[in-house]
């Protein structure tokens, strides 16, 4: 597979397809986007991730042309999009509500964009058929949008926005209206279609799992600011701030005084050994629950803290133990249930030991 070498963002020879340069957007006094710069490369599946109201949709709508930046430049393929109206941009969008035209059937919905380009009839027909095949909806061509299911509507919307073979496809919370099972299937379908068509996808989502599943890179946003842009794995393993660590997955944060090799976290407790080159001072140790081992006896590890089990969440494949450590903080540790009835020796109110290596955690000073 060549997938793992797809990293144009690390290649200085590559030029970006989409470039946001110091883009700011204000609605009256409210700053929705604050001096954002992003480069997105051809063939990427780029995710804008953040809580609702963080500005991710505004950022996307500016690329589609529905909002105008207050300052800064958005360019596509090197061309400044400032004065290009939405209907002239080589960008198509799949709307959160799907925005299918209720008075047209599936076929006419998909053909809408092609007809606007004045394509001859036979070419329109050929392209619509191709799109229907791509999303496996040939049988439903003559149905109106209100006569098909939510999942099918989602696929019609996808086919319609891909029909004109845009340089960039924008997806605004594309799977928000689907139930969990269907959403997971559709995520893989999306990736599949993205690879098949080679189109650059940009997705807006508040679902971190979805962003992790589909994208090559994720921009984590908060209140109009980009907190970090990186691959899903890097975001998870090397978040640059508590905000990102907490937003992507589950994390334990232990506050303390970082002295360059140890974190002094509580009076009278052994300092925690961590390998990190973070600047000394006030800092937080970020520890993922699955990187903490839990045992009844003190384990031989770089770090070990005693605690009391106050809650156990059995998730089937995993169990999450909530352990109260000296000082009263609650730490979550996760263990796979590899054997049936394993770990049954640990139960509520037991005194246990939490242990981890010096490379398991990350020191964050922000």
């Amino acid at each position: 597979m060549t997938d793992d070498v797809f990293a144009p963002w690390n290649d200085p020879g590559q030029s970006p397809l989409i470039r946001y340069a110091n883009v700011t957007k204000k609605f009256g006094e409210f700053t929705a986007i604050d001096n954002v710069s992003i480069d997105i490369f051809p063939g990427e599946f780029f995710a804008l991730l953040g809580p609702s109201g963080c500005g991710k949709t505004t950022l996307m709508r500016m690329l589609a042309g529905f909002e105008t930046p207050t300052s800064g430049i958005i360019s596509l393929g090197g061309q400044d999009m400032g004065n290009v109206p939405p209907n002239k941009r080589p960008v198509n969008m799949m709307f959160q509500s799907y925005a299918l035209f209720p008075h047209m059937n599936v076929w006419d919905n998909i053909a809408f964009g092609l007809r606007r380009d004045g394509l001859p009839k036979d070419q329109v027909a050929a392209r619509v058929e191709e799109m229907l095949r791509l999303v496996q909806l040939q049988k439903f061509a003559k149905r109106k949008p209100d006569a098909i299911s939510g999942g099918q509507r989602q696929r019609v919307a996808l086919a319609r926005s891909l029909a004109k073979a845009p340089k960039v496809l924008l997806l605004d919370e594309p799977l928000g209206a689907l139930d969990k099972k269907l959403r997971q299937e559709t995520q893989f379908e999306l990736v599949d279609i993205q690879e098949k068509t080679g189109t650059t996808f940009m997705i807006v989502t508040h679902d971190q799992e979805e962003a992790m599943t589909v994208s090559t890179r994720i921009a984590v946003m908060d209140e109009g600011i980009i907190k970090q842009i990186d691959t899903p794995a890097s975001l998870y393993e090397a978040p640059n701030s508590r905000y990102v660590a907490d937003f992507i997955g589950d994390v334990n944060l232990i506050e303390g005084d970082w002295r360059g090799d140890t974190l002094h976290w509580a009076e009278g407790q052994t300092p925690l050994a961590v390998q990190s080159d973070a600047p000394v001072g006030k800092a937080w140790l970020a520890l993922r629950p699955e990187k903490i081992a839990i045992s009844k006896d003190q384990a031989k590890a770089d770090n070990a803290i005693p605690g009391q089990v106050i809650d156990i969440a059995y998730l089937g494949n995993l169990s999450t133990y909530v352990v109260e450590i000296p000082g009263g903080q609650k730490i979550r540790a996760q263990a796979t249930n590899a054997r049936r009835l394993s770990r049954r020796d640990i139960t509520w109110n037991d005194t246990v030991w939490l242990s981890w290596t010096s490379t398991a955690g990350l020191v964050l000073s922000e």
Binding site: A64, G65, F66, P85, P86, N87, K88, V91, N92, M93, F95, Q96, S97, A99, F101, P102, H103, F112, G113, R116, D117, D146, R160, S161, K164
Partner: protein, 260 residues
């Protein structure tokens, strides 16, 4: 659920209050007798007499074309106004304009009629069918814009954005996406305008001139000389047309509301 006796009585009383006069009028339009208040047996002869009366036929023609043209003008203007007020970019005083478009709905007709008359005189417009059309278009437009804007408010804006996104121009987006979806509301607005024009007396009396007499004006002037059974027949026909218009308008509005 079975209605209680109290509900049955109050409903009967209420509807009797509303419809008894109309019912009596329609009944007496089939009166054989020449005397309006004395029942002389069933007959449709007054309808026959009516359809031979040149003056009534002329008035009917004026009424019809005035209603048709004024409703059409009102529909175009009202839809445009509604579109701008609901959809257009926010501009200074938009709320004021939205409020002002409703004002003629509650303005006394006498005042509307008088002010239009003064306007037509001051710009030296000859009064006749044309001025009635203008006057009716003016007040029908408010009704159209009320009906259409209520539909536009519930209209998913992303549909228009999707059309633009797929390469449609603003006008194409309106013609191919917005208009077909709001069409039932536009049609209901037209029917409402048509019906309103049909039964207007006050404003038409103010702004009409010689040679342009509408049916309500004709009826009013005839009645001043004494009620003839012919008038009953004419009124019955008018009631039928207005009722039909209102029913069709409300049905199309209902259908429009059921669409997503």
């Amino acid at each position: 659920m079975k209605m209680s006796r109290f509900n049955v009585v109050s409903l009967t009383l209420g509807f009797a209050f509303l419809y008894l006069p109309i019912l009596i009028l329609i009944t007496y339009s089939f009166n054989e007798s020449r005397l309006v208040t004395v029942w002389g047996g069933f007959s449709t002869k007054w309808y026959g007499v009516l359809f031979q009366d040149e003056r009534f036929l002329g008035a009917a023609w004026v009424t019809f074309y005035v209603a048709f043209i004024s409703a059409s003008i009102a529909t175009v203007l009202g839809t445009m106004a509604a579109y701008v007020l609901v959809r257009g970019a926010k501009f200074r005083g938009r709320t004021l304009f939205s409020g002002m478009i409703y004002a003629p709905l509650v303005m006394p007709e006498v005042i509307t009629g008088l002010s239009l008359l003064l306007l037509f005189i001051s710009i030296g417009l000859d009064r006749g069918g044309f001025t009635i059309i203008l006057a009716h278009a003016t007040f029908s437009m408010c009704y159209v814009s009320v009906v259409v804007s209520s539909r536009l408010v519930s209209f998913d804006r992303s549909l228009e954005e999707a059309a633009l996104d797929l390469g449609a121009t603003g006008w194409q987006a309106f013609r191919l996406v917005t208009l077909p979806i709001i069409a039932p509301a536009v049609a209901a607005g037209w029917l409402l305008g048509f019906t309103l024009s049909l039964d207007d007396l006050v404003i038409a009396s103010f702004v009409s001139g010689p040679g342009a007499t509408t049916l309500p004006m004709r009826i009013f002037s005839e009645v001043r000389l004494g009620v003839s059974p012919k008038i009953n027949a004419l009124s019955a026909i008018l009631i039928g047309m207005v009722a039909l218009g209102v029913i069709v308008a409300s049905l199309t509005t209902k259908r429009a509301a059921q669409r997503p």
